[in-house]
Symmetry: C2
Subunit: 248 residues, 2 copies
């Protein structure tokens, strides 16, 4: 059985179907928005582009607003439609996912704030290679997690979880490099600290992308895999696949 | 009208009432647990107590487990009881709140990890006063937010939101002090960075306590106040009070 976003559950009411489809597409819209925010925030830092940084900061309000709107819509669906089984899971996942997307937006906003601070101080680029790499990496994770959600694709979601381990390694190596910069030039400590916080924000973006991926697995596999080891998750997905093939 | 936890809504089924009471008390139990985790983690750092730090790290698993349990129970209530109005709000708030409590537990665990790292390096206390102050402050915020939840007390919740502004000021002043330490003694940079991350974790604990406070206001006032300015929230609470008094 392949789970298909178009008919992931059967219920009589076409209107109810439309509503579920609507929160799904709203979540993807919000996701696309924060993915762009991460991209723009990192770009603003690399280019010292304060105009772009201010745009990112301003747009964060829209992201917050969208979260409240989607959450309110989900609450209404729960109250009026009283969904069960996979429909209920979908609504709950959307509520959880908006919280993660909103926090990704927050982290992008923090990166943009660093752009403004560094520009004000007339700082010279230091640690920017690390920011570019980690930034690309976690933005890709957000994109992949959203694609996995759009396609109800738990294998893709699993890849995102695996990727997070690489991001953690990359993050740790980047912070070590920055500590070395600080030791070599103590006058630059304050400036390098700003980059340190940027790296931390990007690492957090990766964590939130992983949360999104875990929700996709919960949706598709029906198992809450938060705090499970990667190997356990892989086994659970493989097991379901086998069971599905056997019943085909 | 004073909202009373014992009868915050009326429904026929005593069993349903018991279930709502049960998730409320489970949330408070989880809250008490993470509050203790924050306290122990900070204490382990101040005393260089690696045994206590390891305990905090081990206990984080229990916190995670409790979150999954409560979430699962909430999902079952939604599926079976199809709650509406204030009951639905309560269940949704509990689901959101467990996520914040779990993250508070994560931050405590990070602080405990810093204890172990610093003990290994035989580090001397630096920035510990800042950690103690901020640690006490945010632990108090968590406690107050939980009390506000236990009593459905939006005025108390509002105090927590106000307190978060002080925590942010305190955090910024502490990080400035630490940057000065690093400049004065570049050899200690790596060690001071560990304390910097600890301060960041504690500041995040304050943010999560604020989220809890916002949920309490949503529960009691029926208004989602995330992203609202403090002044707006105060006005909304005052308005409801007036309306309630007029109708008494």
């Amino acid at each position: 059985m392949k789970i298909n976003p178009e008919n992931h559950s059967t219920h009589i009411s076409q209107k109810f179907n439309d509503e579920l489809e609507e929160i799904r597409s709203q979540l993807l819209e919000m996701g696309g928005m924060v993915e762009q925010q991460v991209k723009d925030a990192v770009q603003s830092l690399l280019d010292g582009d304060t105009r772009l940084a201010k745009e990112v900061r301003a747009k964060d309000q829209q992201v917050n607003h969208l979260q409240l709107e989607i959450d309110e819509f989900c609450t209404q669906i729960l109250a009026r439609r009283q969904p069960a089984a996979s429909d209920l899971r979908l609504v709950l996942v959307v509520i959880r996912a908006t919280a993660d997307l909103e926090r990704i937006g927050d982290e992008a906003s923090k990166v943009a704030r660093a752009t403004l601070k560094l520009a004000e101080e007339g700082a010279s680029p230091r640690g920017y290679i690390e920011v570019r790499h980690l930034g690309n990496h976690v933005r890709q994770m957000v994109q992949d997690a959203l694609n996995a959600f759009a396609r109800f694709d738990s294998a893709k979601a699993l890849e995102v979880l695996r990727e997070d381990e690489n991001v953690d390694l990359e993050y740790r190596s980047a912070t070590r490099a920055l500590i070395t910069f600080m030791m070599e030039d103590p006058r630059a400590i304050s400036q390098v600290m700003s980059i340190m916080w940027v790296l931390r924000s990007l690492e957090r973006v990766g964590d939130h992308a992983s949360n999104l991926a875990e929700y996709v697995i919960y949706l598709v596999e029906g198992q809450d895999v938060r705090y499970a080891e990667l190997a356990q998750i892989e086994a659970a997905i493989a097991q379901r696949k086998q069971a599905t093939q056997a019943s085909d």
